[in-house]
């Protein structure tokens, strides 16, 4: 077929090829800039702390890197431990349909004079026992050959509007369940 092409067609074909030569320089410029920007903002972090949409976290100037630990999240709807809903906050008429939660614990969910959250306590005790069992089974041992002790660290992620009264009950419950260190998660203040 190409042998029978007319001179005019051949000329047109040549013109067409010349018009479609791609100028990739500017595209590569853009890609390089994006790449540099992304590499600058890239950071490796092994933590798997999660947040919930709608949660307004406080801002902190602390420079500590968040490390992996068991996590309690206080959402406007309720208390979540490791992604599982443990307890719903009390809903009243005023808060129905509102975006802000009441963060009030139902009285029947508390014991020890209203200081301990029963459902959360049971969940945390189960989590501690599981962690201790895993440490016993683990080949990692301390200098004396004993299994490593339970670290007792609990990350607390909460909305900035939550009151200390609720937070105190969570900490009291966690303390009763064997958690001795609390890590309040916050957004890092940009310096």
């Amino acid at each position: 077929m190409p042998a029978f092409r007319s001179i005019r067609t051949r000329r047109r074909k040549r013109k067409l090829n010349a018009a479609f030569e791609l100028q990739l320089t500017s595209l590569i410029d853009v890609l390089v800039i994006i790449l540099v920007f992304l590499l600058k903002s890239y950071q490796t972090s092994m933590n798997n702390l999660t947040t919930v949409s709608g949660l307004q976290m406080p801002i902190s100037s602390s420079q500590d890197e968040p490390r992996d630990s068991l996590q309690v999240i206080l959402t406007p709807e309720g208390i979540t431990f490791e992604g599982v809903r443990v307890l719903d906050f009390q809903q009243d008429v005023a808060s129905a349909g509102a975006s802000e939660g009441t963060y009030k614990l139902p009285p029947e969910a508390l014991d020890e004079g209203g200081k301990r959250v029963v459902a959360l306590f049971n969940t945390l005790v189960a989590a501690r026992e599981k962690s201790e069992l895993l440490k016993q089974k683990s080949p990692v041992r301390d200098a004396q050959g004993n299994p490593l002790p339970f670290d007792g660290v609990l990350a607390v992620t909460a909305d900035k509007r939550i009151q200390y009264d609720t937070l105190r009950k969570i900490m009291y419950t966690a303390g009763a369940a064997g958690f001795k260190i609390f890590r309040f998660t916050a957004l890092k203040k940009e310096t």
Binding site: L24, L27, I28, L31, V32, I34, L35, L38, L39, S41, Y42, Q43, S45, N47, L49, T51, M57, P58, I59, S60, S61, S62, Q63, D64, E65, P66, R67, G113, K115, A155, A158, D159, K160, R161, I162, Q163, Y164, D165, L167, R168, M171, Y172, A174, G175, F179, K180, I181, F182, R183, F184, T185, A186, L187, K188, E190
Partner: protein, 181 residues
């Protein structure tokens, strides 16, 4: 006899076409990977231990009479005091918004730290209505030293060298978790 024209003259007009397709493939793959792993929210944490009180510890404390620097939030003010009267108690009124005046608290704590440079612990006693936001802000003010703060020099016990402190009172303990107030 005419000489053969130089081949350099011919090659002058030729352009070398770089094959950029593999490079672009790499770039696109890298950008996709970096976008996927990009962290848009940088998180941090503020650590606080649970207070422990054994009868022997309490008895020892009563003997030693430590500073036990305490920051108590009240309805309209914040009080910085020591149960053993090691420092003069100071009351700092809240801001017009009703939140603790973190800057004034921080300034007072810097003064205390200059008197007791080896002290690391502060007992924080907020009211039940204190918001989590105010708590974290207050903990930052208690724990961190700002760039504009006067330097606090402490001799390193191990090396014997004078060092400027980087943190003010790094250990913040909630003093009223176990109580009802």
């Amino acid at each position: 006899m005419l000489r053969r024209p130089s081949s350099r003259r011919k090659s002058h007009g030729e352009q070398i076409a770089l094959n950029l397709v593999p490079m672009m493939d790499t770039f696109v793959t890298l950008i996709a990977f970096l976008l996927y792993t990009m962290v848009f929210v940088v998180m941090t944490h503020v650590e606080t231990p649970l207070p422990t009180a054994s009868p022997t510890e309490v008895a020892e404390k009563l003997k030693e009479k430590p500073l036990q620097l305490t920051v108590s939030f009240r309805k309209d003010e914040t009080e910085i005091w020591s149960p053993f009267s090691k420092i003069a108690a100071k009351k700092i009124p809240n801001t017009p918004e009703g939140t603790p005046d973190v800057a004034a608290i921080h300034a007072r704590l810097v003064e205390v730290k200059q008197q007791f440079p080896n002290e690391k612990q502060v007992v924080l006693a907020p009211t039940g209505s204190t918001s989590y936001d105010s708590l974290v802000a207050a903990m930052d003010g208690i724990r961190m030293l700002d760039a504009i703060d006067p330097p606090i020099i402490v001799k390193n016990a191990k090396t014997g060298v004078d060092e400027a402190l980087k943190l003010l009172f790094p250990e913040v303990i909630f003093g009223n978790i176990l109580g009802n107030d």
